[in-house]
């Protein structure tokens, strides 16, 4: 393993949910501890299951792991961190200021940026705590999913340049300004992060084109802010021997090998390790220590249970129900890489084939609907909300209207504030609400951007709703975008996930966020399910058997409606293959 050679003090594993960051960071921690090193394992993943891996409760204080000498662990829960951060600002004035004023402060600090900043704050403290650094040889971070991590890591850079550009300070720093006193700590954290003698970043991927493309973007974004020492681990690669006697396994093997050959050039030059697909998810110290070996534990398959999932509805059943209403908003939500674009396109194509008018749109900067459709259909319009275009349009609009009478200095300041991170969310939201207004006449199928982004959108929608109801005469008949999203007659939210532990946990977390915003998801889609196929590969059958617990959890605990989408032998690209996904 190249990423395990000459390991520096700080190790970061990054990659989207479900690629195996937790397993890798736990296995690395065990290995280093067994070499006699003092190791601290830190999880900032909201769906952390480090505790489950070591069968021990960990939580937000450093805990000694009982069955691995030299290893301690810590779980940072971003939600809890945000709550504590809010409390630091609100706590001192509670009881001093009127309740309604305290409420308005809490409201202001309940946005998604506060969560980001609070988690980053926790993590910075670890990087700059001299006592901790002295006490441990290695600190291993099992970081949160990619987009989240990037924002966390970009903040200090953005922050210090913002401070330099705005010596006045009283500008659009938002919740960051609550951290003003720790400026030096941030500078130190950035320094430690960008020093290759101290920090190694390990990008974790699966051998899939979209995942590798996303990792390449992460690589470039992190390299651009100075984290240049990066390693790549491609996890869960299907071994060649599995591909010999099974069509599905052969197709997966071929796709993975093609994805590896065609991986973006920027990744090819990194030190790369490949880890084979294991039959089971790795839980427990012994199973984890086998992660870096080729040996696989043979686990007997309970063949009878696989048949149970065959009763679950397929996507076609859901499309039938959606079609009945004749129009409305259909939104696919879920983490990046679970197949939202493909499923949104499949639903849109299936509706359009029935002669219903459909507008398919995406706000995901990484999605390419034309590459998915490879053609056109009657009744089907396709569009894209491009954040860059929308920001430019929004800035220009504000400067031309609200900024038109300002002097040069005032205009410059407004322009500076329009460069703030919130502007992007608002600009995208404006475009989003323009499109959903059409949903009264036809179907709007949206492939939304990954979770954090989506929630920011909803946040903005929420603010809009409150503003609008405050200003509008209550007797006036008016529908805000939020009211539309909350109305099950008008909007159907589908949560897309995979039948694996972390993706299901993440999807459940997303559902909770939506419910807090008063939106009840209509259905869950379990994509790329192996148990819905008739594979004969021993390894894939074992993986399929492990899907069952997750499918059961979705069916009984999380979802009102579930549909199972089988793993496809052919990549679902082009209108014909998309329609295959919606076959009864």
């Amino acid at each position: 393993m190249r990423f395990l050679d000459h390991v520096p003090a700080f190790l970061f594993f990054t990659g989207k949910g479900g690629v195996g960051k937790t397993s890798l960071s736990c296995a690395t921690a065990i290995r280093l501890a067994r070499q006699g090193k003092k190791v601290l394992l830190v999880s900032t993943d909201p769906a952390s299951n480090v505790g489950q891996v070591f069968s021990q409760t960990i939580g937000n204080s450093i805990t000694v792991i009982a069955n691995v000498a030299g290893l301690s662990a810590l779980e940072i829960d971003p939600q809890l961190a945000a709550q504590q951060y809010r409390e630091r600002i609100v706590g001192p004035v509670r009881g001093l200021l009127p309740d309604s004023a305290v409420k308005s402060i809490e409201e202001q600090l309940s946005g998604a940026c506060t969560t980001e900043i609070a988690a980053f704050d926790e993590f910075t403290a670890l990087l700059t705590d001299g006592a901790l650094i002295a006490a441990y040889d290695h600190i291993i971070f099992d970081t949160a999913p990619t987009g989240h991590t990037i924002r966390l890591l970009q903040l200090p850079g953005a922050w210090s340049s913002f401070i330099e550009a705005n010596p006045g300070g009283a500008s659009c720093l938002g919740p960051l300004s609550g951290l003003d006193k720790q400026r030096q700590q941030y500078a130190d954290a950035v320094k430690a992060l960008s020093d290759p003698d101290h920090t190694r970043l390990i990008l974790v991927s699966r051998a899939q084109k979209t995942t590798l493309d996303e990792v390449a973007r992460t690589h470039q974004e992190l390299a651009a802010i100075g984290l240049s020492r990066q390693y790549l681990v491609i996890n869960g690669v299907l071994p060649e021997r599995e591909a010999l006697h099974d069509a599905l396994a052969a197709a997966i093997y071929r796709h993975e090998q093609e994805a590896i050959v065609a991986m973006p050039a920027v990744l090819r030059d990194l030190p790369i390790d490949y880890l084979p697909l294991k039959a089971a998810n790795l839980v427990g110290v012994e199973a984890l220590s086998s992660l870096f070996s080729d040996r696989d534990e043979a686990i007997p398959v309970a063949a009878s249970t696989v048949a149970d999932v065959m009763d679950l509805p397929r996507l076609s059943t859901l499309v039938d129900e959606i079609a009945k209403t004749g129009h409305g908003l259909v939104m696919m939500m879920g983490k990046g890489g679970v197949g939202k674009t493909t499923l949104a396109a499949a639903v849109a194509v299936a509706l359009a084939k029935r002669g219903l008018p459909v507008h398919l749109t995406t706000s995901d900067p990484a999605a390419h609907l034309t590459d998915t459709l490879l053609g056109t259909l009657d009744n089907l319009d396709v569009s894209r909300i491009d954040p860059h275009t929308e920001i430019a349009r929004y800035r220009e609009h504000v400067l031309d209207t609200k900024g038109k009478d300002l002097d040069a200095q005032g205009r410059a300041m407004l322009e500076e504030d329009l460069r703030s991170p919130c502007t992007e969310e608002i600009a995208v939201f404006q475009a989003f609400s323009r499109i959903i207004r059409e949903a009264g006449k036809k179907f709007i199928v949206m492939d939304t951007a990954p979770t954090g982004h989506t929630l920011l959108l909803l946040d903005a929608t929420g603010a809009f709703h409150r503003e609008a109801t405050r200003h509008i005469d209550p007797l006036l008949h008016h529908t805000t975008p939020m009211m539309r999203l909350q109305d099950p007659e008008r909007t159907k939210v589908m949560i897309v996930t995979l039948a694996e532990t972390t993706p299901v946990l993440e999807a459940a977390g997303l559902q909770e966020e939506l419910r807090r915003a008063g939106i009840e998801p209509w259905a869950w889609l379990i994509n790329n399910s192996l148990s819905a196929t008739s594979t004969s590969s021993r390894l894939l059958k074992q993986r399929a058997a492990f899907e069952l617990a997750q499918i059961e959890a979705v069916r009984t605990r999380h979802a009102e409606r579930v549909a199972l989408v089988p793993m496809q032998i052919d990549e679902p690209v082009g209108i014909e293959r998309l329609l295959n996904l919606v076959e009864p």
């Binding site: 200021l97 308005s104 402060i105 500008s171 005032g410 603010a463």
Partner: protein, 120 residues
């Protein structure tokens, strides 16, 4: 020297560009504050969402909040006395409070009050 303190409601940023609709009054006032600072005026803004202790520790501001609620912000103190509430001051008002020699601006062009040698 005159000290002007501005107590804003809870908001993300002082120009208000983070809201769903940009408030013209906030944009203008942010520009006016910047202008006043350039003239050497001591002017400071406090955001309820970020610096609530500043509100709680000032008896005048605290009792204002108790009586009128945060919906009545902004509150403007000049040398610790309440000078204005419920709206942002104009550049002319800032000028008067700070006893600056007025500069001719568009909004003051038709007013004859300050056209002489000394400002009212």
């Amino acid at each position: 020297m005159t000290k002007i303190e501005v107590y804003d409601g809870a908001m993300c940023c002082s120009t208000g560009v983070c809201g769903v609709d940009v408030d013209q009054a906030l944009v203008n006032f942010a520009a006016d504050v910047e202008w006043a600072k350039q003239q050497g005026v001591k002017i400071e803004r406090f955001n309820l969402g970020q610096q609530p202790l500043q509100f709680a520790n000032n008896p005048r501001v605290k009792s204002f909040l108790e009586r009128s609620g945060e919906g009545s912000l902004p509150l403007i103190l000049v040398d610790s006395e309440v000078a204005l509430a419920g709206r942002y001051p104009s550049r002319a008002e800032l000028t008067r409070w700070a006893r600056l020699v007025a500069v001719p601006t568009v909004s003051q062009a038709e007013g004859s009050c300050c056209s002489g040698d000394s400002c009212c």
